[in-house]
């Protein structure tokens, strides 16, 4: 086991209220290696911020252990854990200049004015705020405030940096810019970053590890690619997006494949893993990536290779996205069934709303959901 200084292990932690009558999180088990970028992803109220605050030491778990660098930190003050937190609204001290904000942690540690200003100025240069050192936070833009918050958290040389929705207060353009800056900062500092967000693309773009949460539980934890291309269950598939989720009943099983029938689509073929325990008549949820779905004329059905499966539907809506086109088909009753068609291919096919089409995908690209 890696017990590097910023290695974090959450061992069965839970936080309940009113003697267990309600809980914020429950049974959280997770290992985060030292120096990795980890994102907790989930809708508001899923408990992701509670976990962050428990790691930071601003809340105590009611059960379980939090190990940082192999040492249980439950009950320790934030400063003893050597973690630093960047707050959602940045929580800058409004009455202190940028330099004094950044030097605050050094001031309470008793460093002389000269020493702490020298260190703070070094950090100010790192985040490119040189000309703003004497301004008050209220005189800075959102992006500048965020950099002050980051510098203030990083100045104590923590082993773990905790970020609570760090980009939510910024506009779209700045968010993408600051996203890259966060990643660069993490590489520079070489410490563990734990980042809480409700934006899927943010988590996928930044993280080494994405942790998808729902109602106080971890649904899936893994690399961004695992989460995106192999969601474990319907919740993860739908929350991450980019997937078509279909529900059906198994009508026939044949070696490595099964035939699945649904209310709104005909028979499709799905792969079954070795040693599966599926039987005829059982319900099954599957996911197919939207960019794996190709649209062809209905007449092409007999010519499909045996490795492909298809459903028939009508084009419901078309949305131009630039490098691809989002085509929605009425194949799944409650859920969207969408194909992301490459832009050139879409215009070669010349589809319009109301056209009958054949949605085709490779059987092996199907993901079975738990």
């Amino acid at each position: 086991m890696n017990t590097g200084k910023g290695h974090i292990e959450l061992a069965g932690i839970g936080k309940s209220y009113d003697d267990g009558a309600s809980f914020a999180v429950q049974g959280i088990n997770l290992k985060i290696p030292d120096g990795s970028y980890c994102c907790f992803l989930g809708p508001s109220g899923c408990g992701k911020s509670t976990i962050l605050r428990m790691i930071a030491g601003h809340e105590d778990p009611t059960e379980g252990k939090i190990l940082i660098g192999g040492e249980n930190v439950v009950g320790l003050a934030p400063v003893e854990r050597r973690t630093a937190m960047m707050f959602q609204s940045y929580a800058l001290f409004p009455h202190l200049s940028v330099r004094d904000n950044i030097a605050f942690a050094l001031r309470v540690r008793g460093l002389s004015v000269k020493d702490r200003n020298a260190k703070a100025d070094e950090m100010i240069e790192k985040v490119h705020l040189g000309e703003f050192a004497n301004r008050l936070p209220g005189q800075l833009s959102g992006g500048q405030q965020q950099r002050v918050a980051l510098a203030r958290a990083a100045i104590t040389e923590p082993r773990v940096l905790l970020l609570d929705e760090p980009l939510s207060a910024l506009d779209e353009h700045l968010r993408i810019q600051m996203r890259a800056e966060l990643r660069r900062m993490q590489k520079d500092l070489g410490i563990t970053f734990i980042h809480v967000t409700h934006t899927q693309m943010e988590a996928i773009a930044l993280s080494d590890i994405v942790v998808v949460m729902d109602k106080g539980h971890i649904r899936q934890a893994g690399s961004a690619r695992d989460i995106y291309s192999a969601p474990r269950d319907r919740y993860v598939a739908e929350f991450i997006g980019g997937q078509n989720v279909l529900s059906g009943r198994i009508s026939d099983i044949d070696k490595g494949t099964a035939r699945l029938g649904g209310d709104t689509f005909g028979q499709i073929v799905v792969p079954l893993p070795e040693g599966h325990r599926k039987s005829k008549g059982e319900k099954l949820d599957i996911a197919i990536r939207r960019d794996d779905v190709d649209l062809r004329p209905v007449a092409a059905q007999p010519d499909l290779p045996p490795s492909a499966t298809s459903i028939v539907g009508r084009v419901q809506a078309i949305e131009y996205q630039g490098n691809y086109v989002k085509v929605q088909i009425d194949a799944a009753e409650n859920d969207d069934f969408v194909s992301f068609m490459p832009e050139r291919k879409f215009y070669e096919a010349g589809l319009t709303v109301g056209d009958a089409v054949l949605a085709v995908w490779d059987i092996q690209h199907t993901q079975l959901l738990a």
């Binding site: 400063v79 929580a91 009455h95 605050f104 001031r107 540690r109 203030r152």
Partner: protein
């Protein structure tokens, strides 16, 4: 700017002007005018311009002593009300978890005001008097043999009455400015390793400055302009600026009383200006 907008602006300030002009500006102007005329000594005024009223005021040693006494009460009252007010507000905002209980306790702070000022002052007598609760208690336990004389009808009892009466004027604005401090700012300080004392000293105190300044303005102007509390609680042993010119009015010396009133108004304005110089309330509130 269009004339329409101008008109709306004037309409907006009209109610305030309707109150301020007849009830504040005109009386002040009358007092100002009276302070520059002569009197026959029996309440009659001669419309003759003179500076004698002011000259008399500035030549008298009494004036200086009166201001020294009143300023002493003001500073002592400011000190105690701001310390007590800060602690009470701090406790209510940062230590009482439930908002409901905090509001309840806040209302409790106003309970003394449910009765008249005179009743409140008189009720100090059975507590602080020679045969009052404190003296008999201390004598009973055997800590003192003679009753403590300084407790009632002294400068001590004047300050006690002022603090009792005016602490609420500190609590309310300090409570208000503390309540606007984002809790995550306090957490951020904690995260940086600050102790409770550090947080109070470096974060909460500077962020409550506007509240303390507002409270200080209330307390200063009330104590400077008071004569009643001093008169009752000192047992007539201590004079005050207002007390002195109130006596002038009693013996029909209107012009000298008016001159004293104008000087006092200027002094209070200077004090308020000094407070505003230390804390830019307007900037702090809009921040």
């Amino acid at each position: 700017m269009s004339p329409g907008r101008n008109l709306v602006g004037w309409l907006n300030v009209t109610p305030l002007l309707l109150v301020l002009i007849p009830f504040f500006v005109i009386p002040i102007c009358v007092v100002l005018a009276v302070s520059f005329v002569e009197t026959d000594g029996f309440g009659g005024l001669y419309p003759v311009f003179t500076l004698d009223n002011y000259a008399m005021l500035f030549r008298s040693d009494l004036t200086l002593r009166l201001y020294a006494a009143t300023l002493k009460f003001t500073l002592l009252t400011l000190l105690f009300t701001s310390v007590i007010g800060f602690w009470v507000a701090y406790f209510l905002v940062f230590h009482v978890r439930s908002k409901l209980i905090a509001m309840g306790l806040f209302l409790v702070c106003t309970v003394p005001f449910w009765t008249s000022n005179i009743v409140r002052m008189i009720s100090w007598i059975p507590l602080l008097g020679k045969e009052g609760l404190i003296n008999t208690g201390l004598q009973g336990v055997g800590i003192i043999n003679e009753p403590l004389e300084f407790l009632l009808f002294s400068s001590f009892s004047v300050v006690v009455a002022y603090v009792h009466q005016l602490t609420i004027f500190m609590i309310v604005p300090i409570f208000n400015s503390m309540a606007r401090i984002d809790k995550s700012v306090v957490e951020a300080a904690l995260d940086a390793g600050a102790s409770r004392l550090d947080i109070m000293r470096m974060i909460i105190l500077p962020m409550s400055r506007s509240g303390i300044a507002l409270g200080a303005i209330f307390v200063t102007s009330i104590v400077m302009g008071d004569f009643f509390v001093v008169k009752v609680m000192s047992g007539g042993g201590t004079a005050s600026v207002v007390g002195a010119f109130y006596e002038d009015v009693g013996v029909l010396q209107y012009p000298t009383a008016a001159a004293s009133a104008i000087v006092l108004t200027l002094v209070v304005m200077l004090l308020v200006a000094a407070i505003l110089r230390v804390v830019d309330i307007r900037k702090e509130i809009t921040q």
